[in-house]
Symmetry: C3
Subunit: 302 residues, 3 copies
Amino acid sequence: MNDATRHLIDIDRLSDDEIETLINRACALASGADPGHLDASVANLFFEPSTRTRVSFELAAARVGMQPINIEMAQASTTKGESLEDTVATLAAMGIGCLVLRHAEIGLHARLAAALPAGVHLVNAGEGSRAHPSQALLDAATLRARGIEPAGLKLAVVGDVRHSRVAASGLRLWPRLGVEELRLAGPADLLPAGQPSPGVIHCSTLEEAVRDADVVMMLRIQHERMDRSGWPDPAAYHADWGLKSEHLDVAAANCVVMHPGPINRGVEIAAEVADGDRSLILEQVRMGVFMRMAIFEWLLKR
Amino acid sequence: MNDATRHLIDIDRLSDDEIETLINRACALASGADPGHLDASVANLFFEPSTRTRVSFELAAARVGMQPINIEMAQASTTKGESLEDTVATLAAMGIGCLVLRHAEIGLHARLAAALPAGVHLVNAGEGSRAHPSQALLDAATLRARGIEPAGLKLAVVGDVRHSRVAASGLRLWPRLGVEELRLAGPADLLPAGQPSPGVIHCSTLEEAVRDADVVMMLRIQHERMDRSGWPDPAAYHADWGLKSEHLDVAAANCVVMHPGPINRGVEIAAEVADGDRSLILEQVRMGVFMRMAIFEWLLKR
Amino acid sequence: MNDATRHLIDIDRLSDDEIETLINRACALASGADPGHLDASVANLFFEPSTRTRVSFELAAARVGMQPINIEMAQASTTKGESLEDTVATLAAMGIGCLVLRHAEIGLHARLAAALPAGVHLVNAGEGSRAHPSQALLDAATLRARGIEPAGLKLAVVGDVRHSRVAASGLRLWPRLGVEELRLAGPADLLPAGQPSPGVIHCSTLEEAVRDADVVMMLRIQHERMDRSGWPDPAAYHADWGLKSEHLDVAAANCVVMHPGPINRGVEIAAEVADGDRSLILEQVRMGVFMRMAIFEWLLKR
């Protein structure tokens, strides 16, 4: 694969070296390292609404000198019956150097990447509930930029773990980085089905998950998921599964709180925790741009 | 406030010196002065549809070297339940240097600006019926670029003064610039409630407003407002309150006509007046880009 | 007209020299010639949905150094009652150097161009069923880049010729370039009304059109047109009018296949032909960007 065109499909396609390279480069850029200038254009294809991820990729592209093109897929050629394969081949023929794709269909990103001509790169910016690799990578870079190394840590992921693509990519990344205990917590029907893999622990209460934890990653709860799970309203969900100040009292002394955003204040996280001094939430947003710059550099620079 | 981050919230937060600086710089840019290069990105957040104002800010940003990012708020994260406060904090964390915001909620711009981190600037691009400061400033710059100084002039503002944010910001700017007589004219229920302040005159006919006037600023009439006021149709409104050539005969000899656009030909203004040699309407559009360039420079250059 | 502002309205307004200049310049750019740097902004005004054409113009603009501005007309000021004439005059006043317009109204582009101030250029990016000149020009450039000169060739255009603006602009271009036989083929009610002009042949079967043809240009079939023409479904249309491998057996030995896209696989063209080695479809897409760069250069450089 060394001479093949690079894509970012998911964590498990990256070598340990590549993961280190990306995390270190994002941290270096955040510390003021000069970004390279990449002479290429980037098409943002978002089939699901997104502000933060699209803008983060758009800003990252501009900061490394690339020309960002936004394509709102709701009203694009696919509505004229063209297949997404043909849309992507068309954009490649136009000289687009990089496609940033969010789409609900699992497996689509890998299939499209395999069909792209050499020199055209694909970045997975969200794939159903399966993968969101740039988010997992930026989370790791956020910790490193704060001086926190995942190796040996207890890390809790709380909420709708089953349907979260952020959690799915994280589950592939954290063990690679040496996390000691990966605790998954949430309502029983929102935890992954089946037995947990080695090193992974399923917790049935929030208290159990956060006790002595070094990192607590809260996930966004979807309202429709909350309803289905039998919680009558956001306040009831918050009572059982919302991260509150009291939980931080039983966590490790230097425990940090993360959330991929957008946050629901008073639902999965109390406002005082989101805005508190343990929170890295805005730092994740900041590091997201640097990680996406690092991704573009890694894809295009050889 | 000298070392605080600058914002453009409304006219009354600007010193006389700042107003002069902005107007003079817009005129200088219009005359060919080199724009500076500002290394920052600008997010356009428009919660109300707008072509002209959004494009004017986008072009102005690009001309001073800034990277414009458009965010269509109808389909943005706020629809996922995120508060606008969190959206704005997220954009600031991404490294956006300047937020250009149009929103119906009065007081929102000042509240959001106060919560922004240092170094992130907010520009009010329309705030309900309360403020649209860049429009008032560009109107003043349009006059100066034409060699017309507001000091000592009779200036008439005609139409739906009560609900116009353009008029509201103008009412704060014109007295500061020494306008001698500020005449407000329109259907009684579309004039500001209460007694006029000193130097302001409420006129009950269009003829009264334009007689000897040096500047006539027509406001866009909203169809729903017209209906409510008892005019059966645009032609009836035009008969009573539409600016026609005959009105210019009683105005001052060098009277100029302005309108913030988009214009309704044959409603608040006759086509022959809009396109006539007294009209500064397209000149306002032209100066709008230069004023927004001047605003970006003033905000970011210290 | 030598000192007037240039526009691209349709093929018949271009001199033979201008056509040659545009085709040659697109080929030179495709071969690596340095694009000039044009210091101007371009507004994309698309009143009909389009991904490929809009993105092609946007990429072309950026590659010659121009600032592209996208204006989605569905929600633009025209919905506030402003006329398109006023919208265009407003954009010109803002300093936009070039307007790229797609609109269903026939004759609109020429009318708007005539009203523009000097120095502001208009490009027709689609005009009802009447014209799409940049597509015809890029088709010619695609042939030349492949070493195929139109002079003396048999060229077949197949499908809904009557309603196709691509075909309409091609019908004006191909005879100018010396095509020997221009064959139009399609269901009878989708062929142009009236008698064909000299050098043009109406064919009643696909087989007749492709026999010994050097170039076969397939047109996109609209589903609503297919229904009206009495074909019960796409497969039935494909049986009669879809280009299949067997047709290429009776065409000229080096026959090439073109399609303006987006393609309907299995309707007007079989997948194996679209993806086959006679197909220039993606090459047309690639040349499209270079042709639009050449158009911008031709418009703005004097």
